[in-house]
């Protein structure tokens, strides 16, 4: 309770402060409490560090930045009320929300009040609704299949590729996107199949792949089935490479598939800690006893995006900021950000990884 009063007091002070010194109010919103609170905590730490760094260099357009924190607990209703509160506080930029289901309703409020926002939500619908104020600094769910499919078509040119899914919403969606991407590169998938997840016997599928001469399989689904298919392929004497989605990061895959797991490729969001240009910031976080994992670096990048866009536009007015963000290019800790007409960023949202001896790393091109 004491903390809440303190927080409210801080908010009040911040408001008074902003009125007195005309600081730029920027905000973050996300699940600061509830089951996803760890993500909210990462966002807060990243944003706080970024604002401290920007202010140390003299702020934006000669004025300091001040941070507002909104807690939506990943509840869409609470997200809308947070958005209204933030609008009343007259923020000039929002980084959030985190859950796609919160971002989508809240973005309508920000759009009406003309506040630009940068989000890490991955649902395609976030940027598919034609809102001009929203910019996404992370990958989209449907990019994953594109990245995986294009990689397969290029790296395994001339080899027969099968596309298989487990009939789940996630698996089928991913497999369809992979098939589309493979086709777009001029290769026709040799086989399109579905299996039932939760079964144990995939020897029928394996024999089918073997007799069709398939060496590479693009798979939409979970790691459990991949382990079984790999084992059964090995028993049948078929050397199979499997490309999967982000679910393949699970270490159970390695235990269950044994050494055959080295034949698994998968797509996953890039790790900003590996970005050489961000080494200084990574070190700074670690010195402050904060591991820059998950969303920490993305929150840092969102604040950099705002600062640079405002400097380029020489204004924090919505129309100027929006124009600068859409047209410009920004050096951030997650890479060089620029956006397309929908507001999706043009960075590679997903990287191709490969398992090797129980560890995974970027695949060598």
């Amino acid at each position: 309770m004491g903390k809440k009063i303190l927080l409210a007091g801080c908010g009040l002070l911040a408001m008074l402060g902003s009125a007195a010194h005309a600081d730029h109010l920027v905000a973050i919103a996300g699940p600061m409490t509830g089951q996803y609170a760890s993500a909210g905590d990462q966002i807060r730490k990243g944003a706080e560090m970024a604002i401290a760094d920007i202010n140390a260099k003299g702020g934006v357009l000669g004025q300091k930045l001040k941070l507002e924190v909104g807690d939506d607990a990943c509840d869409p209703k609470q997200a809308v009320s947070v958005a209204n509160t933030m609008v009343n506080k007259k923020i000039v930029f929002m980084h959030g929300h985190w859950c796609s289901s919160s971002t989508i309703p809240a973005s309508d409020v920000y759009n009406e009040s003309q506040i630009p926002m940068a989000t890490v939500s991955t649902n395609p619908q976030v940027t598919e609704r034609g809102l001009k104020n929203i910019f996404r600094i992370m990958g989209r769910d449907d990019q994953q299949g594109l990245v995986a499919g294009s990689y397969l078509a290029e790296a395994f040119k001339g080899k027969k590729i099968a596309v298989v899914d487990d009939k789940s919403a996630y698996g089928k969606g991913l497999a369809d996107e992979m098939a589309k991407a493979i086709q777009a590169k001029g290769t026709k998938p040799a086989l399109r199949e579905s299996i039932t997840a939760g079964e144990k016997d995939y020897s029928g599928l394996v024999s089918k792949l073997k007799s069709a001469g398939v060496e590479v399989m693009a798979y939409g689904g979970y790691h459990t089935e991949v382990a079984l298919i790999l084992r059964q392929a090995q028993q049948a004497g078929l050397k199979l490479t499997i490309m999967g989605g982000d679910t393949m990061t699970n270490t159970e895959l390695v235990t269950a598939a044994g050494p055959a797991a080295d034949n698994v490729l998968f797509t996953f969001s890039p790790d900003p800690r590996k970005n050489p240009a961000a080494a200084d910031v990574v070190k700074k976080f670690r010195d402050a006893k904060v591991e820059p994992e998950g969303y920490v670096m993305y929150a840092y990048a969102a604040m950099q995006l705002f600062a640079q866009a405002a400097e380029q536009a020489k204004s924090v007015k919505y129309a100027d900021l929006e124009k600068a963000m859409r047209g410009g290019s920004f050096d951030t800790v997650i890479g060089k950000l620029s956006f397309d007409a929908k507001g999706d960023n043009k960075l590679p949202g997903f990287m191709v990884y490969q398992w090797k001896g129980g560890q995974y790393d970027y695949v060598k091109k």
Binding site: G198, G204, K208, A227, A236
Partner: protein
Amino acid sequence: MALALQQLINGLTLGAVYGLIAIGYTMVYGIIGMINFAHGDIYMVSAFIAVTGFTLLAAFGVSSVPFALVVVLIVAVLFTSVYGWAVERLAYRPLRGSTRLAPLISAIGMSIFLQNMVQLTQGARVKPIPPMLTGGIDIYETAEFTVRIAYSQMLIVLVTVGLMIGFSWLITRTSFGRQQRACEQDRTMTALLGINVDRTISLTFMLGAALAAVAGVMVTVYYGVVDFYIGFVAGIKAFTAAVLGGVGSLPGAMLGGLIIGLIEAFWSSYLSAEYKDVATFSILILVLMFRPSGLLGRPEVEKV
């Protein structure tokens, strides 16, 4: 041609496993006229015992695969038989003589209980073991396809054939087998002749559980991954096998298992793997339409 041969091998392996589990269903139905829905979960428990056994043996540095296999098989059969006995004693015997529906509901409850027990004590995540029996023999080669029998497939088929021979001997030639068949025909009369009916029924449950235990160990070796939910799918398939072959008939259960294994294997390689289960159950419906008591089942005569 080569593909067909390969699928024949795969289908027979799968069918053998279904058959082993199906016998448990059919025996229990034969003797007390109820479907033991917890049977699939007994099989799941034995798979977990197998995973624990293999992991423990590996931790103690046992690297001989045949030795580990025999030890785990014996341990799994012993423990799982106790489970089979306990399930009958706790959930079915108190309900004997009540309505037909009561033990059925009790069986479903037992199934849920076993699933949740394993989920709570072992966790909901899959439990893998590292590959044990890898490799196989190439038996037929063409330019584009090599037919291969994996060692683990050979193991499953050989063990199943051995068990079937032993089991038929047990039922047709021993005094326990005679008692068991007598109970099947008329429990009251059997009791009047001085045979302990409760003991015979308990032994039947233990035998069914033991066969399921063998299937559980084999599947663990073959697929290498178990979770608390595997009993459901396997149980449904094996139950279907028992019904297809004629519930109550032991050779029928094995035959039903093999037929379902083969349908699944051939359907998934020549047609679409997606509609494999649709095909299996359509054939079940067709068979039941023309032979309501299954392929080898005797039509039930209501005694008045």
